[in-house]
């Protein structure tokens, strides 16, 4: 037994001694492992280099992409000198086509008519960030004919051609031919912006919209919502004879070789500091509204005020205007006090569920007009609808019922249905 154990121990010791590598083997092993580590380090370094290279390439590609996008965006914004000029120049327009079916008490005055009432193109240009040019050219009633007696279909008119300068963030000056700062429609009369196929009559007979003059104007607007304008311009030249004697609307000189003997001074103050509310009042003084002394139509003052209130789809417009004209002739004719007012509530419904139709508006308007001519003295009720497929296009339908003040003009009383399409772009 003892011999067997001893033999087993000796065998185990000899086996252990045979499994241990010798120094040479260990050296070779370490050398081999060292080479492997060096190889791995080399591979790691190469990989790190490639990663850094890739990172640089990605960075460069990103910069190239950003640069390319910026270039494309700049081209879109007018990168070249030609497109930069184009970018500073804008072209637009508006127009309206009407159909009127008039049923008058005097049937000889009945008529049905369709007319492209006006088509306007505007071109504006920005010389730099503070100096701009605005212009509007209008063709009324579709065509202009050269006839021997001067009668023709319509008119070609330059309604605006002025330079505007920003004096600072709150003040501007303009000079040239511009719209008189008066009333609601005179400066904002694109068809999609108002109700009714025809514009209201107060801003036709009493405020002769569209009313433009040559001159200069200063304007200011402030953070509290107040604004002001003051203009010195050419004035009206009201006729002193004929069927339009003393008629305000016939006094527009339309900037064509306009007499500047007696100028007009216009001041307007406005307030729109409460969202949805706009209040405005204008005073104008003309030293001689006929541009001729001693003819019995002399100094004139215009006072007008309006209010507009919007709340959601609801809107209320109200305007009043009155002329006070001095002169023996105009007083004798009863035209020394010409006035008018209107009120117009409306509601606009958004109708996205109707697909093509974006919104529908319903309105009614009452107006009282007291001009100098018998046909310009009346009361009128009106109601109708506007249909907007998009903000810049409108279809209109309305009904009007007009009654004149004087019995002599009662044959002109009428009921009318009007259809219209209007657009701006």
């Amino acid at each position: 037994m003892k011999t067997t154990i001893t033999a087993l121990v000796l065998t185990l010791c000899m086996s252990a001694s045979a499994a241990e590598p010798d120094l040479q083997t260990l050296y070779e092993l370490i050398k081999q492992q060292g080479e492997q580590i060096a190889d791995l380090q080399r591979q790691l370094a190469e990989t790190q280099g490639e990663v850094a290279e890739t990172r640089d390439e990605v960075k460069e590609t990103g910069m190239q992409l950003a640069s390319t996008v910026e270039y494309i965006e700049e081209q879109g914004d007018g990168g070249s000198s030609a497109s930069s000029w184009a970018d500073r120049t804008s072209v637009g327009g508006y127009g309206e086509v009407h159909y009127n079916d008039i049923d008058a008490d005097d049937s000889s005055r009945d008529f049905k008519e369709t007319d492209i009432h006006r088509y306007v193109l505007f071109v504006n240009h920005e010389f730099n960030d503070r100096v701009r040019f605005f212009s509007e050219v209008e063709i009324e009633h579709g065509l202009v004919k050269d006839t021997s007696d001067g009668s023709n279909g319509g008119e070609v008119e330059i309604e605006q051609a002025y330079i505007e300068l920003d004096l600072n963030d709150n003040h501007q000056a303009k000079a040239g031919l511009f719209l008189t700062p008066v009333g609601i429609l005179n400066e904002t009369h694109e068809p999609p912006t108002f109700y009714g196929v025809e514009r209201n009559d107060v801003e036709n007979v009493i405020l002769p919209s569209t009313w433009w003059e040559n001159g200069a104007m200063l304007s200011g607007q402030y953070e509290n919502g107040f604004s002001w304008d003051f203009a010195v311009t050419s004035g009206l030249e009201v006729p002193t004879s004929g069927s339009s004697l003393g008629r305000i609307r016939s006094g527009r000189q339309k900037s064509s070789n306009a007499s500047a003997e007696d100028l007009a001074y216009t001041a307007r103050i406005g307030y729109s500091g409460i969202p949805g509310l706009q209040l405005s009042a204008t005073f104008q003084h003309q030293t001689d509204i006929s541009q001729m002394s001693g003819d019995g139509i002399d100094e004139a003052d215009l006072i007008t005020a309006h209010a507009i209130y919007n709340n959601g789809g609801f809107q209320l417009r109200a305007l009043w205007a009155e002329w006070d004209i001095d002169g023996t002739l105009i007083e004798a004719l009863g035209g020394d006090d010409q006035s008018g007012w209107y009120v117009e509530p409306s509601y606009r419904f958004n109708t996205p569920e109707l697909g093509l139709l974006q919104s529908i508006g319903i309105y009614t308007r009452f107006e009282d007009v007291e001009g100098i001519r018998s046909q310009d003295q009346f009361e009128q009720w009106e109601f109708g609808f506007n249909f907007w497929p998009t903000d810049n296009v409108v279809f209109k339908i309305d009904y009007r019922d007009r009654e004149h003040d004087l019995a002599s003009a009662s044959g002109r009383d009428f009921k009318a249905i009007d259809l219209g399409v209007g657009f701006q772009f």
Binding site: L167, H171, L218, G276
Partner: protein, 184 residues
Amino acid sequence: MQMRMIIGLISMLWMSCASAGSAPGDEQVYHTQDDYLQGVFQGAIPHPGTIWPDSALRGQLKDILGRKPGLRFRYWGADGKTAWILDQIGKDRPITAGVVINQGKIEDIRVLVFRESRGWEVKYDFFTRQFSELWLDSRQELSGSIDNITGATLSVNAMKRMARAALLLHEYSNQNTQTLANAR
């Protein structure tokens, strides 16, 4: 009398120019982009991010803006708040506005550059405060109404479009804490 009035007008023009202070040639810039962002992030403007709209988002932005959207939209975002600088034409000139969205609602909207001839009211707080706290509803409309300004409808519409676009883009930014499915 007439000559006195004309001289008076010229005097007013001269005084206005003199009081303007800034030299002609400056743009009608009410806030620079940097000043605006400094104010929004209290001096610590975050690194800008970029959204590259895919075709679906481009379609939505086209509906909102009424025109093709740009290739990319840069924004600045931190702590659930994003700021966007956007351009949109009102009547015929672009309006530049800054819009800040916080947790999916409008925190601030401000005109940075105004170039239009009408609609000056949109530059001021009495108009822009109507946008405060509005969000985008399921029809991608603003959650509340914005009262119109007569004579400046197109400028008002431009402001509304920029507000809606910023609210939509916020949902695709890295500051949107809600999933798109329940963002509204």
